[in-house]
């Protein structure tokens, strides 16, 4: 898991070792706790790890301590979302449609919610996606928008909150026909 890998990295970074007591005293035990965070923390810490990854070449990333700085999750999340957007790199993902000869690429950060994304896809590929129902999936069309998430699973677009979708979507695929039915109709 990513967290364990990051922990190993931290143990090796003398520069960021935390010490208790005044500088110049004997080396105390290191008190960096990481990877123990509960499920709620995971999306944040994963994002943190991604952002430190980028600065690796510049300078050693500071040790990321659980719960520090003491900023509420609500606030932390909104800063992180802002950072991802402001990075300017956008979040480009490939979009394929069954039967179409070539793929397209879209920047997920250009959209605020699902309806905007759907409209854009419909325009791009000239199709209609039908109506989304929480239990039954998409109805009224042969086309079903799906995406591959971080774990490599194929998911139905629209099931998870928008922010979660943007941070976990690796690519999009608009399924058509019989294959679509399996996913689209209440698994």
């Amino acid at each position: 898991m990513e967290n364990v890998g990051v922990c190993d990295e931290f143990v090796n970074l003398k520069a960021t070792e935390l010490r208790l007591g005044l500088p110049g005293t004997e080396d105390e035990k290191q008190k960096v706790s990481c990877g123990k965070s509960n499920k709620r923390a995971l999306p944040e810490t994963e994002k943190d790890i991604e952002s430190t990854g980028k600065t690796e070449t510049a300078s050693p990333p500071k040790a990321q301590i659980v719960g520090w700085p003491p900023v509420r999750s609500y606030r932390k999340n909104s800063i992180q979302t802002k950072k991802n957007e402001a990075e300017g790199q956008g979040m480009y993902v490939k979009v394929s449609m069954d039967g179409a000869p070539y793929l397209r690429k879209i920047d997920l950060t250009m959209y605020k919610q699902y309806p905007e994304l759907m409209k854009s896809l419909e325009n791009m590929f000239k199709f209609s996606v039908g109506e989304y129902f929480e239990r039954e999936g998409y109805k009224g069309s042969d086309f079903v928008p799906t995406y591959e998430d971080k774990d490599g699973d194929w998911m139905l677009v629209g099931d998870v909150p928008w922010e979660m979708f943007v941070s976990s979507c690796k690519r999009l695929r608009i399924m058509k026909g019989s294959e679509a039915k399996g996913l689209g109709c209440g698994v």
Binding site: G21, R72, R75
Partner: protein, 579 residues
């Protein structure tokens, strides 16, 4: 007083509303206790596990307003497992069963379910006010029940909750007959709302004073909302990334100009600079401003805005305002009482020259004589600055300083910040809340124990050298109620020195310290009126209890203890062991 009939005494008690005072009254005599408890309308419970709902209802049969707090404060920073507890459901069930005529419910850090909200909405015919702060576990479906069933609802205030937004039609669920709303805050909802329903609701609520919308309410909708509610006193706006066109801008400004009662402004999760200027006409009336979510706004735009806000009493801002910006605040906002400066860069990744330092803090202390509460995130601090701040502002009630890098010393002398914080506690005789940071030895705790006589809440992180530190605090601070410590070398000696001290405190939190399982067990044995909780996510209850002698020396990851009259709670998850 013995010669007055009970009704007269009760009438006199009606004038006394503070919880502290009413608690004191109830201790005077049996008859006063009885009169007080029968007439008490509003109860505050700082720890929902200190008492149970049945006993509460028994003691206060006329209960109308209840405030409950659940998870410990450090839950805000992901230090408490998600499933720890703090469920409101049993409370609502008990209150409903006893037919309490509940009118107000305020919850902080509690787990609320849609089922709870549904039961709440159906059980209390006079229910008027629901305030949820940092809660979780519910969805917009729960809100729909409240909207639909609470016919006399006046206040629905949702602050920083984790709400699953089903993007449904909960706003539609307010019946057409609902016209009593005075306060509506749904700023923490992430999804889109039914704008038409919102506009209709606002239009039919002439008493609406406080409206805080979420990010998904666009500018033209905001303009329409303000136009039909010019009586607003407190406004939270959405997210306005793009510059408005000329027409939209003029309409917005016209609507804002009409809101002459507006005193408090917040929201702005993104705001284009031009948008901000539309609010200039009402700046001079503002007493409260929260721009702490507007990350992209540069310091100079913030400064220009604040220059108009001469009556500001409360300001929440990001550190992008810089020392220069704080100097402007100091020279403009002479009525300032509360300041919070939040970090815009959490991991010190950027070489940020514009963030705030000790210079900004000193400027504020010099310029704002009424300042009594501060929360300040910064990258560096000096003892000299803190000593100056203490001299300038002896009236602090709350002083929370967070230097982003743990253990960071005075950056000019490389010494610890003991003297700086010592000066603060010595000068600020009324200090009730203190958060420490930076490099600190046992000495700072000596000062705290010696001088901080009114201190009720102390937050310690990465500080101290030995148990002496914690002992100074426990022995010296007679009014201590909440003590929370993380990553500091305090152990069993300090924990066990004075067990009776915990009778006078609400709770103690210690994580990543030196206390051992054996020490905690000993404490639990000596203090049966305490719940001593060990939180360890990698274990479960059974393994914990089977530990042999050797394991007693093992350090406890997280310890949370609190006084209680109802013994060990029964809803603890596997990762929590109650000794």
């Amino acid at each position: 007083m013995n010669y007055f009939p009970d009704e007269v005494i009760e009438h006199i008690f009606d004038f006394i509303s503070s919880h502290k005072d009413r608690n004191s009254i109830s201790l005077v005599s049996k008859s006063w206790h009885k009169i007080e408890r029968c007439s008490r309308k509003s109860v505050f419970i700082g720890n929902c596990y200190a008492i149970n709902p049945e006993r509460l209802i028994q003691r206060f049969p006329s209960l109308r307003s209840l405030t409950l707090k659940g998870k410990p404060h450090f839950a805000d920073f992901n230090l408490v497992p998600h499933e720890w507890g703090g469920f409101v459901h049993p409370w609502i069930v008990a209150l409903a069963k006893a037919r309490v005529e509940l009118e107000e419910l305020r919850l902080k850090r509690m787990v609320v379910s849609d089922e709870s909200l549904e039961l709440l909405s159906r059980s209390f015919a006079s229910f008027k006010s629901l305030v949820l702060v940092s809660c979780e576990g519910f969805t917009t479906d729960g809100l729909a029940s409240v909207a639909a069933n609470c016919r006399h609802l006046r206040e629905l205030d949702l602050q920083e909750n984790e709400i699953d937004d089903h993007r449904g039609q909960w706003l539609n669920c307010f019946p057409e007959s609902s016209t009593a709303l005075t306060s509506l805050n749904f700023s923490c909802l992430k999804g889109e709302t039914n704008l038409a329903a919102l506009e209709r609701l606002v239009a039919r609520s002439p008493n609406l004073e406080s409206l805080k919308v979420n990010r998904a309410v666009p500018l033209d909708a905001l303009t329409r909302l303000m136009s039909c509610a010019p009586q607003l006193v407190d406004l939270g706006v959405g997210s306005y990334e793009n510059e408005p066109d000329q027409e939209s801008f003029m309409k917005l400004m016209a609507a804002i100009k009409k809101c002459t009662e507006l005193r408090s402004l917040s929201g702005f999760s993104e705001v284009a600079p031009l948008c901000l200027t539309a609010f200039y006409p009402i700046c001079q009336n503002l007493t409260s401003l929260n721009l702490s979510y507007a990350a992209e706004i540069q310091g100079n735009h913030l400064i220009r805005f604040i220059q108009f806000c001469k009556r500001l009493q409360r300001l929440w801002i990001l550190d992008s305002i810089g020392d220069k910006g704080l100097e402007v605040v100091a020279s403009t906002c002479k009525e300032l009482q509360e300041l919070r400066v939040f970090p815009s860069d959490l991991h010190d990744e950027e070489d940020n020259d514009t963030a705030v330092t000790e210079i900004g803090l000193v400027a504020i202390s010099a310029g704002c004589p009424k300042l009594h509460s501060i929360l300040y995130f910064c990258k560096q601090m000096t003892n000299a600055a803190l000593i100056t701040v203490a001299k300038n502002c002896p009236n602090f009630i709350r002083f929370r300083l967070c230097i982003l890098e743990p253990n960071k010393p005075d950056h000019t002398t490389s010494q610890s910040l003991d003297e700086g914080f010592g000066a603060i506690v010595q000068a600020c005789k009324g200090l009730r809340r203190l958060s420490l940071s930076g490099l600190l030895t046992d000495k700072v705790f000596l000062y705290i124990g010696m001088y901080a006589e009114q201190l009720e809440m102390l937050s310690i992180a990465f500080a101290g050298d030995t148990d002496k530190g914690m002992l100074y605090v426990l022995n010296g601070c007679k009014k201590m109620r909440k003590l929370e410590i993380r990553d500091s070398p305090f152990g069993n000696t300090a924990l066990l020195a004075d067990v009776d001290k915990y009778r006078t405190m609400r709770s103690l939190w210690m994580s990543s310290c030196e206390v051992t399982l054996g020490g905690c067990k000993r404490l639990a044995r000596n203090a049966p009126w305490l719940n001593v909780e060990i939180i360890n996510e990698n274990e479960n209850n059974d393994l914990m209890m089977e530990r042999n002698e050797e394991d007693e020396r093992e350090k406890v990851d997280r310890l949370y203890l609190y006084r209680t009259v109802v013994g060990a709670r029964k809803d603890a998850p596997p990762c929590v062991t109650i000794l």
